[in-house]
Structures are given as C-alpha cells and as structure tokens.
Amino acid sequence: MSTVVKVKGLTKTYGNVNAIQDISFSIESNKIYGLLGRNGAGKTTLMHLITAQQFASSGDIQVFGEHPYENNRVLSQCCFIKESQKYPDNYRINDLLEVSSFFFPNWDRDYAHALIELFKLPLTRRIKKLSRGMLSSIGIVVGLASRAPLTMFDEPYLGLDAVARSLFYEQLIEDYGKYPRTIILSTHLIDEVSQMLEHVMVIDNGKLIIDEDADELRGLAFTVIGPATSVESFIVGRNVIDRKPFGGILSATIMTRLSLRDQQQAATLGLEISSISLQQLIIHMTNGRLNGKVAIDQ
C-alpha cells in the first residue's frame, strides 16, 4: 500500500487564529477516509492545504510524493469538490462536463451522463438557473466521474434531500468497489457516512485528535447505567469521559474496551451496559468538555 498524502508538522494561522496546529498524518492509497469534526474545526482549511489552494504557515505536505504547489503532475490526480462549489453562471451542465473531461485524465463520460440522469439534472440548463440541491448534485457527479486517484468531498450535501444523499452513498460504494481510489469525505453527518469509512480522522480546534481505523473505534467506549452507588464503584480508576446523573441513577461513559470481566462485574452489580456508536464517541470527544485530554487506549 502506497502513501498518497504525507503531512508533517502542518500549521496554518490566520492572523492570531490557529486554524491548523501542528498536524501530522499519512493517507494511504485506495481507502475511504472520513475527515470529521465540528464546524470550524479546520477540515476545509486542511483540504485547501493538501490541494495547494492555500499556503501553510509551517510544516510539510507531500501529495503523491511531491510538493503540490503549482505542480500539475500532482494536481491533475486530485479532484476537490468544495462545499457550495461555484461554477461559471453562464455554463450549461453539459459545458461543465465537457470542461471536466479536460481537467481529469480518468474522466468517464458515460458514467457522468448516467449520473446526470440518476440525479435528474437538466443537461442544458444554465448554472445560474439551478437550485442549491442541483448544484450540490453536480459536484457529486463531477467528483465521482473524475475517478481521480485522490478525490475529496467537502460537505457535498448542501440542499440535498435524503434521497439524493442516499443515491450518492450507493454510487460511491459501488463505483469505489469497481475503481478503487483514495477518497476523503469531510462531513459532520457522521452517522450517515460512518459505515462506509475505512479510516477516521477527527479534527477538533485545529488539532488531529483521532487518526484510527473505523472498526477499531467501534466498541472503544461503553456506557454503564444503574444505581449511582453501584455505578460509582464500577467506574473507580477508569477513564470516564461522560457522566449523567438522573435521580438516583447514574449513567457513565467509559473509554475502554469491554472485557468479559467487566461484563461479569457489571452483571453482579446489576448494571446495564451498552456500547456506544462511532458518532456518540466522536461527540463525547469533541463537545469541548474534555479539552482533547482523552487518549485512546489500545
């Protein structure tokens, strides 16, 4: 497996705002990555830096083994679909497809037209006459049909209804299965995309707080509920990331893998145990109460 993106000590500051703070990671080829985090966490800035649309304040970025800045060998292999992507107002949709075929060496014309039909887009209508949802759909069509070795979607959903989103997911998985490539999906709709991801990166306040295989994160934490005194004795010495008292009941979320001994101990104390979802885990880790202090136990 080769490395597509390698980032070392990357920092980006705007004035006195640290948008990206000393981030390092690698992105391997032919995997689907989720770039997750709250609004303003730094996801979009990071993707702008990878695609050389902004300069880093410090640190190093290599894409396909080279510096991306004004480097056509690198940039022709990247397709970046931005949130509220803008296209020239006077273009018709078919002009846009024509232009895209020049930009992307792997462009698949037939697939693009099949997608246009699937998303019910009017091929000859001008961009300025399209609804927000249609514009988002076009971004998705271009992103998928580009078959770019590194394809990035930054919140491609603006104005898209649930049906169109689900069409996008189906097409993404099917086409990726046929033509494996590196895909980065940046989104805050974690529960909708999580099961399609192979790897998860979570950014919080400009810092990379999770960089982990998605399945490794599932079942990494669990919630225990029961009479407060019993729960208190169960959680002694454990890594508690959330606690909610309710009358005489306490619900505590613990960051650790559930062992058979834990299960037995909980059963003896009469406590209920449930694993938490990937989305809940990320919410706990980015809600600001932990200040990024929790390390992931391996």
Partner: protein
C-alpha cells in the same frame, strides 16, 4: 442508512456473524458460493475492505475457502462446526442472562421451567 448495521460494534464482525447465520440456516449451503465483498459492500452500504475483513475472518477459521479466480465458498462440515460454537455461546448469552433476570423478578426455577415449556408451545 443501509440495512441495520449496528454502529457500536466492529462491522467486520457483524458481517462474519451474518454469513455464519446464513450458513446455519442453510441459506448458504455448504459448497455454495458466498457473495463477493463488493456485493456485500453495496448491499449493506459498507466499505468493501471492511466486508473483506469479515469474510477473511471466516477463511481463517476454515468456515469459508477461496477458489482462486472464482470467489469464496462455504466449506464442507462448516455448519456443524458453527452450530457447536453457537451452542456454547447460547448458554452464556441467553441462559445465564435469563436466570439473572428471573432472580431479579423473584421467579423460581420451577416457574422458569414452566415458562420455557409454555414458550415452546406458542
């Protein structure tokens, strides 16, 4: 979205369990071909690599085997092997839990046995 994948447990394990269930219920008879990882991925809307990990887990346990260039198949004798494994789990998972809950509700062993008989008939 997708078809009832539980996001709180590793997905590759859930895929392996589903294949196991299909073998036990003979929806996937021995020596029949298992769907490809891309078919699993499209059906459950999951990552193909995750589906492959689930399938490979069963290859490691010799429940499935690979025919080069064709795909994955259910090994002979795998149904019995899975049933034995599931029977052991059944005690821990259902019987022990049931007895604990019964104790909590003050149900005696005799009442519990009667309940099981009644459940068997319905």
């Amino acid at each position: 979205m997708g078809f009832s994948i539980d996001d709180s447990r590793p997905i590759y394990m859930q895929i392996a369990e589903r294949i196991e269930n299909d073998i036990i219920q003979e929806q996937l008879p021995e020596e029949s071909q298992v769907p490809s990882t891309n078919q699993f991925a499209s059906f459950y809307l999951i990552n193909p690599a995750t589906a492959a990990k689930g399938v490979n887990l069963l290859v490691d346990q010799e429940i499935l085997y690979k025919k080069r260039g064709i795909g994955m198949f259910v090994a002979s004798g795998s149904r019995m092997k899975l049933m034995e494994k599931r029977r052991e789990q059944f005690f821990e998972q259902y019987v022990v839990t049931m007895i604990r809950e019964a104790e909590k509700l003050g149900i005696t062993a005799e009442e519990l046995t009667n309940m099981i008989r009644r459940g068997d008939k319905s």
